[in-house]
Symmetry: C2
Subunit: 358 residues, 2 copies
DNA sequence: TTCTATAATGAGACCGGTCTCACACGCAAT
DNA sequence: ATTGCGTGTGAGACCGGTCTCATTATAGAA
């Protein structure tokens, strides 16, 4: 009697076969649902399986078939509700197709991303969905692709990597959001984004290795220039990766006498922190400062005033990227697709004309 | 040249062994990091592995060892930020111990929960963390436990199932929150919760099969009775599982002339919807109606006024339950633990004396 | 009746690792 | 010179499925 290890050896096809008095091959046929078997034998095997409470070992099944039924997902930050929704879209779509999802968080660190990819490849996932945190180092992604395992990119495009990609119209969305601000009369607009960077100051686009971040800055700057604003980049701030960083950036931004009269935040985590700082400083939105943020997070509709947002269809993004990946897993050979999902702007109450005592 | 199937057969230990001119067993020894090998051979094998870009097949490894390095997690609703945080706590703790996580969403449906458990068992996860949606039907959980696979329960206890369990002090938390309301003078307090139920009316505790929901109702009713409120159950509402349901409940609750003067919401998803309805009806918080909710969701601190909440340490809950599970996976034999994590109440501005034109 | 096509079943290889066991070799003790 | 022991290596079974191929039984055709 071995009670040190309580693990009971699980029931295998061989056990069922023995119980049903048929060969392992035959039992496997009915249990695996392939090949042909007579109705009588099928009944016997099924009865034996039920009696023994047989549960197929998916691992062993995966070994031979080479398919694991698992999709690996690497996102930048699950805590960000934009990603939560995307992941929900991925999970739902995958599950509907009979796939499971292993989720890994890269924390936007390239090394963590590489490690996650390695682990998932080791687990022989049937395909990967990645939110690449950098466009400089894509060797690990190229490896996936080369190994024949389907790869699809979410939210961020990689110019060097020609695979299925689903993004939103970041550049355009940033332009439209900025235009709302300039049309209302703003000339001093801050753009605050989360790209990992030691300094908060922006120098030029060459610093930015994340496509979505870059395109949004481009769009922001373009719209500003269209409106005749001279050096719009003076109010671009990077590195709002954590609440404390965002707070520091916001504090500094609002402390100068020629502070911006409007802010465009690149995600809702940044915006909520900025909103808190704004309120703590006794400033009013939109009378003292206007605010627009990317992502229609739940909180944006319950503040006073509610916040004008760029609504990114995150769930849809996840759904579409998964559909693309699944098609490729099914072996359809076709040129890689680059889908750009349109965004819309939900105008609420956080934008007003600039306040400026002259 | 075979370009119909781009899948390149992956490099195996046998390939590496051949390249390094050693036996498969020896190559496996250095690659797997077990047994003894001479330094020379180790070098040869490692060089061959690097040259061939060998990646171990975790699936095959799991087959023989019986361990998959995966923890299965079944939660009620990932969209709920309480669970997001808990899952984050689980993921972080698991990853730190070298485990991966497969996440499944039950949507609080017992059948989906059973299906998820079956799939995860099939994948031979090393252990499971489940948020049981019902206490009536626990056969599938008992099966896990019986199969020798460690199981730990999150957020909800099961009286019949003696396994590691981590919950919060739901009853006590509900009492404390209610007492804040009664101390401020409220006599007509609504309690709105999310348990799946066709009707919204509450009859008795026998209806409730989810421990946390039940304990909270108990706590709420007890605190009301302590304050001398006669039939506190008249304002208990069930079935706020979706925004539309919550909206319907809230509308009905606020339409009657003897409407409640305070509300206690069992989660932040319910509370945000109620808050919206309250505002749409032109009611003010806390002048016209007081509001407390479970879970310190981000939005609760940016409304005007900010919302008083029961702060549940969701991340900590996930962390603790994972630690318990990991210990058991490591084979430590010990009696099951039931950990109750304390909550705290964060008083903000959503509670005031009852308004009543008499 | 004999031959052949077809259906049903069994035997065993295989997937890619782990791990047990046997064996060869070298060196110290007897 | 013989025995003994430890170290390093190889051969091959094993995990629990899938799947190919051979074999047998059965029915229909010649």
């Amino acid at each position: 009697m071995n009670n040190s290890t309580p693990t009971i050896r699980s029931v295998t096809v061989a056990d069922v076969a023995r119980e049903a008095r048929v060969s392992k091959a035959t039992a496997a046929r009915v249990l695996g649902g392939y090949g042909v078997v007579s109705d009588k034998v099928r009944g016997d095997v099924l009865a034996a399986a039920k009696a023994l409470d047989y549960r197929p070992n998916e691992l062993a099944r995966s070994m031979t078939t080479g398919k694991s039924g698992i999709i690996g997902v690497v996102v930048g930050d699950i805590e960000n509700s934009f990603f939560s929704f995307a992941v929900r879209g991925i999970s739902d779509t995958a599950r509907a197709a009979g796939f499971n999802v292993i989720l890994a968080n890269s924390g936007e660190q390239i090394e963590a991303e590489k490690a996650a990819v390695r682990v998932l490849i080791g687990k022989r996932v049937d395909g990967l969905i990645v939110t690449p945190s950098e466009s400089r180092d894509v060797s690990h992604l190229r490896d996936i692709h080369r190994s024949g395992r389907p790869l699809a990119l979410l939210d961020r495009a990689l110019p060097d990597l020609d695979v299925d990609t689903v993004t939103v119209d970041d550049r355009d969305a940033a332009m439209r959001a900025t235009r709302i601000l300039t049309d209302t009369g703003h000339r001093d607009i801050a753009y605050v984004t989360a790209v990992d960077f030691s300094e908060h100051e922006y120098r030029d686009l060459e610093q930015i290795y994340t496509s979505s971040v870059r395109e949004r800055i481009e769009g922001f700057l373009a719209a500003c220039r269209d409106a005749g604003i001279v050096t719009p980049e003076r109010f671009v701030r990077l590195g709002a990766t954590k609440p404390e960083e965002t707070r520091a950036i916001t504090d500094k931004l609002l402390s100068t006498p020629e502070r911006p009269t409007a802010i465009l935040a690149s995600d809702s985590l940044i915006a909520i922190e900025m909103f808190k700082v704004i309120r703590e400083r006794g400033l009013r939105v939109p009378e003292d400062i206007s605010l627009i943020t990317f992502h229609d997070a739940d909180w944006t509709s319950v503040t006073s005033p509610p916040i004008t947002v760029v609504d990114q269809p995150a769930y849809m993004l996840g759904k579409v990227v998964t559909e693309l990946l699944l098609r490729r897993i099914e072996g359809k050979v076709r040129p890689p697709e680059r889908v750009i999902v349109p965004t819309s702007i939900i105008q609420r109450g956080s934008v007003g004309p600039p306040f400026r005592e002259k």
